[in-house]
């Protein structure tokens, strides 16, 4: 009889399938245009909010930097965020004005910035009565990253909400909290733009979460 490729652990649960790096060609599978492949009718990509989405439409950009200070040019990022009223839209629908989920990538060309077009998420109240400041959950996949890294992006113009956010508060080092705060910058008449570099290692290393 065929043996299954999963095994129970000591407490009789199955073991989670092991993670492996997404490798240098992750874009073939999850970001076809970036790999130079023809796109299918519907692709998951980086515009979470159309013009018609309610809330403040913004652009969020950044780079991914390694422990040598060099650009990581082959990463894939996934965003998961609430809408402008603080609710997650779980039904992904490209016809909807807003989707909570999106993907973006860094590339071999140019300044290798990733970018999302979205709306600023609302604050989120938790069952314990505390409120999380507006944030975007980010997952980072890349060659040399054995299991995806999970982080959050917060906004520098939400000072009070950030100060009260229980998740930011769970980070012991106040200086490390700053690694999650995107800075608003001048966007010359375009959408308001927020910028955050993700630093994988070393000085200014981004806080990554386990949950």
């Amino acid at each position: 009889m065929q043996q299954p490729n999963f095994t129970p652990t000591a407490n009789l649960m199955l073991r989670e399938t092991a993670s492996q790096t997404a490798g240098p060609y992750v874009h073939i599978g999850l970001a076809l245009a970036v790999a130079g492949l023809p796109e299918r009718d519907e692709e998951i990509w980086n515009e979470l909010a159309k013009d018609s989405a309610s809330g403040q439409r913004i652009e969020v950009v950044g780079r991914v930097i390694d422990g040598n200070g060099d650009l990581v040019r082959d990463a894939l990022l996934e965003a998961w965020q609430a809408d402008s009223s603080g609710h997650y839209q779980t039904a992904f629908d490209l016809k909807a004005p807003f989707n909570s989920f999106g993907r973006t990538a860094t590339t071999a060309e140019g300044d290798s910035e990733w970018r999302f077009v979205t709306v600023k998420p609302g604050a989120i109240s938790r069952p314990d009565g505390r409120t999380m400041a507006p944030h975007i959950n980010l997952a980072i996949f890349a060659r040399g990253v054995n299991i995806h890294l999970q982080t959050r992006l917060y906004f520098d113009d939400e000072g009070e909400a950030n100060a009260d956010c229980p998740v930011l508060g769970a980070i012991e080092s106040p200086s490390r909290r700053q690694t999650l705060i995107a800075r608003r910058e001048d966007s010359e008449g375009g959408l308001p733009r927020y910028r955050l570099d993700i630093v994988l290692q070393g000085e200014g290393e981004t806080v990554f979460f386990d949950f």
Binding site: R15, E78, L94, N146
Partner: protein
């Protein structure tokens, strides 16, 4: 009473560590600080996208038919295989309607990617990407060709075993997972630095696709079964305070 969803804590021993110097690229790309544990998972982590409205093309899960560059109409070169399995959670519960995506090299071990310059040729009839949603009972399947092994710059003479990259979402971003399926019996598996990032033989076993003769198609294609296990979901009711 409120229903609260929770996931079984991710056992980091079942996954490769971030820093695994045998796989050299991890050296500058692994965080040196510890992960910050979120003691109280919130709606941000306990929810995730549902892709049932994402419109799939008729051949999105059929890599024999979903790419033609127009120069040589026909089928891709290579061993025809069916890759199939179930997405289940750690309690054995099927995960229905979840998105499974995959990508791979062609039979010669070459990826259709601007950056891949390996000397094996591209196949005009092979793109190397597929996706599908699991059915009611968590089953998925793809039709493809078996990818070739390929060399890569790590050691002086380092080769990847034949593998298919697999991505699964599961019920929430907490269950998100990207892995690789290897083919049972491949002698390159135990000497691959990327496989070896795992310290645990049983964990390696979770990534091996098994030959399934019963589901192979006579005179057509061999079948490999690859079940994906995502974190277990616990649902508990609690009194509001």
């Amino acid at each position: 009473m409120t229903l609260r969803r929770r996931f079984v804590e991710r056992d980091r021993q079942s996954h490769p560590p971030a820093y695994a110097p045998g796989y050299k690229t991890t050296v500058p790309r692994s965080p040196s600080q510890a992960l910050v544990s979120l003691q109280t998972p919130s709606v941000s982590e306990l929810t995730g996208p549902d892709f049932q409205k994402l419109r799939m093309g008729p051949h999105d899960n059929d890599l024999l038919l979903n790419f033609r560059d127009g120069t040589a109409p026909g089928l891709p070169v290579g061993e025809r295989v069916i890759m199939f399995g179930r997405v289940i959670d750690q309690f054995g519960k099927p995960v229905p309607h979840t998105l499974v995506e995959m990508w791979q090299a062609n039979a010669g071990g070459r990826y259709r990617h601007k950056k891949d310059s390996y000397l094996a040729p591209l196949d005009p009839n092979f793109g190397g990407v597929g996706r599908c949603l699991t059915d009611e009972d968590g089953w998925y399947h793809f039709r493809t060709i078996k990818p070739g092994p390929y060399p890569w710059p790590n050691g002086i003479n380092t080769w990847r075993p034949a593998h298919i990259h697999v991505s699964v979402m599961g019920p929430a971003i907490s269950t998100r997972l990207i892995t690789q399926m290897y083919f049972e019996g491949d002698p390159l598996i135990p000497i691959c630095p990327i496989v070896q990032t795992l310290n645990d033989k049983e964990a390696v076993g979770t990534m091996i696709g098994r030959l399934d003769m019963a589901r192979s198609r006579p005179m057509d294609a061999l079948a490999y079964r690859f079940d994906l296990v995502v974190r277990g979901e616990l649902q508990t009711y609690f009194e509001n305070q």
